[in-house]
Symmetry: C2
Subunit: 406 residues, 2 copies
């Protein structure tokens, strides 16, 4: 009923930058994060980059009083790094691993090994069903020449589709995470347009924190200053997004971010700033379908733009698949040539001439190594082509359905 | 309304066994399948093991008249092999790739390379929303010592969860595919209990086809007779399952299977038999929630049994992760030992003694090869452990929620 008291939900979201052996002062920061969460008593805590299960267990033990329910999403070699703590019982969970997530040979970037995913937890508060999503998309290592843009757009599309298909029976949808996209980037526009999710920063009645809501700021001692040079205020890549899907309204009363250092300490909680939202959920008089919050022409535009990025990625992936295939064939030819030479020697064709055994076997091993590596790359780029092509077709179908709508 | 005329839906499901270069008389059989589908005019066609995109395109061209709408699900290195043809427009699609699917080093089994998945297509007929799922689970190569059972149980659980979370707004849910499970296996009981899906074979008013509805029969010239020896009638592993989730009822009027050879030909359509169902969908007087069709104690039982299988798999995966890790460490030690020997030679400690260059480099390459292989295996089993552990935790949470239910 319209007169029902509003439900107040306090949400905390943070990319914790807790990579074992690599992140500076990790354990100290995890302790600080736990302390802050205990003090403030949030209803929902959405964390990313908690790669170490020990850190998760430590947080779980610390938050046992204020957020007794939690879930850690396992995936990939290292783990998805995603976890959720909740004041209310978690009724169900589901993990969707993105089909594309960087390259296994880019060790220095490491995204591929994390099995980047979106995690869903379902909770019910006062009879209201909440679908809570937490995610972390592929990082952007170089904005000018972003080789991972097609992968990130595929991830954004899969995130959109996963939310659309799984949130149909939810009353309130909430997404928190490090999307690695600036607010005007195509992936985030796609996400907002297609799911109808609203950005807590732009909707908040009251805001307090870093200018423009930035979550990677030069003022944080752990951020890499050179990467932020083109953006003197910093960038906003961590979000809390929400919508009500049935007879409810959600409003963001207040949004806050941390501002570089933990209160009373010399270090920040992470290299990212935390985003903290206070949402008010209220029952409406009548139900309304708000699945698509945007007019059809705008949807067509953003989807066409995203599809173009996927196509660019598809062309590049096809080129790489071809190059690696050619390399594998060349290595195989070299090996065959060597086999012929050995056969020639064995049949006595080169009798009397000295045979350079050592350099010959070194060359053979080199050829074998190149063959295996190129074949592995070829396999990887074949998968990449398949997934980009599949996404492109799905987008094409979505465009067709949109355009045929009366 | 109760008086509304029933909607009649004819569904065809077949594992086509169309592996390029490997499956016998593939192209001829694909032509035969296309001909049969054209003649019979099914409303929905769910196919598996269509690995070649050319075969899909050929079928698409042939079915352009009777099933003008189609979708091919791309995934993995080879593809998921899944596709859907429909008489009615496909409004939306989603692919969920199973997190575990055999081992990359079991080349002879090949499942890992297929990226086994479940595909969802959404269609609307006379205002009724249908969520159609098509899937293919990991094969069972040896029933007595089924090393892949834990992976198949994880897949069955992910299938359950995917259907439960995505079908909440559908009026009718339909699943077709090769589940690689006998009707009484734990995975299929889990699927039926947790989703409330009904088995068209047991529900059909009229049945015509192989005895017990078997879909792998000794009478089919392409089946491997030795594998079917313990089952003289054959086995049933291909299914059509359905349920109505809101104010609708679905009934299976008729179920048929093919029986070994295509009519008038000397070969069958595939090594599997096709399953063909005629479903009647009717609007009911009032809505009813049929999400869980089974009593709580039965759900707890089947889930506990499935969880036990996952645990057995987890123990095995942990052992294999340990063995491969130990092997990698040993290879690394050998390499270090060799490096020390080389250093000793270079510093003149063994001056005057002949150094066996060739066998030394061969040994180094061997150690390097073992190191890379063992490290790769260790990575794979780490992922396996993570996913089995994740599934076990999800099942544990589901059990807790079930038991806390009033």
């Amino acid at each position: 009923m319209e007169g029902d008291p509003a439900l107040r939900l306090r949400v905390f979201d943070l990319n914790c930058w807790a990579i074992r052996y690599l992140s500076k002062r990790r354990q100290e920061r995890i302790r600080l994060i736990g302390d802050r969460l205990c003090q403030e008593g949030f209803d929902l805590v959405l964390l990313q980059e908690v790669w170490s299960e020990q850190d998760y267990s430590d947080l779980k033990a610390k938050l046992a009083g204020c957020c007794p329910f939690s879930h850690y999403f396992r995936s990939g070699v290292i783990g998805s790094g995603l976890c959720v703590f909740s004041k209310f019982p978690i009724l169900d969970t589901l993990l969707y691993q993105y089909s594309l997530n960087g390259s296994p040979y880019m060790f220095q970037h490491g995204d591929w090994f994390c099995g980047k995913s979106v995690g869903l937890v379902v909770i019910k508060i006062s009879g209201i069903v909440f679908n809570i999503y937490v995610t972390h998309l592929h990082a952007e290592y170089c904005r000018e020449k972003d080789a991972y843009l097609p992968h990130r757009v595929v991830q954004a599309w899969e995130l959109v589709q996963f939310i659309r298909h799984t949130a149909k029976a939810a009353d309130v949808v909430l997404l928190g995470g490090d999307l690695n996209m600036h607010p005007e980037d195509v992936g985030i526009r796609l996400l907002r347009c297609w799911t109808g999710l609203r950005d807590a920063f732009t909707e908040a009645k009251h805001f307090e924190g870093c200018e423009d809501g930035c979550t990677l700021i030069p003022n944080n001692r752990f951020t890499i200053k050179s990467e932020l040079q083109p953006f003197p205020l910093g960038i906003r890549i961590d979000y809390i997004l929400y919508k009500a899907v049935s007879s409810f309204t959600v409003k963001c009363e207040e949004l806050k971010t941390t501002t570089g250092t933990a209160p009373g300490m010399d270090i920040p909680y992470s290299d990212h700033e935390a985003v903290m939202a206070t949402l008010h959920v209220q029952r409406k008089g009548q139900a309304a379908d708000v699945t698509l919050g945007t007019a059809v022409p705008a949807l067509v535009d953003v989807l066409s733009e995203a599809r173009m990025e996927v196509r660019v990625g598809l062309l590049a992936a096809r080129r790489q698949r071809y190059s690696s295939g050619r390399m594998a064939v060349l290595a195989l030819l070299l090996l065959l040539l060597q086999a012929v030479a050995v056969l020639g020697m064995l049949t006595g064709l080169a009798a009397g001439q000295p045979f350079p055994k050592l350099s010959f076997s070194l060359l053979a091993f080199l050829a074998l190594g190149v063959l295996l590596l190129a074949a592995g790359l070829h396999l990887f780029h074949t998968i990449e082509v398949k997934m980009l092509q599949g996404t492109e077709e799905q987008m094409q179908m979505a465009l067709r359905v949109l355009q045929e709508r009366p």
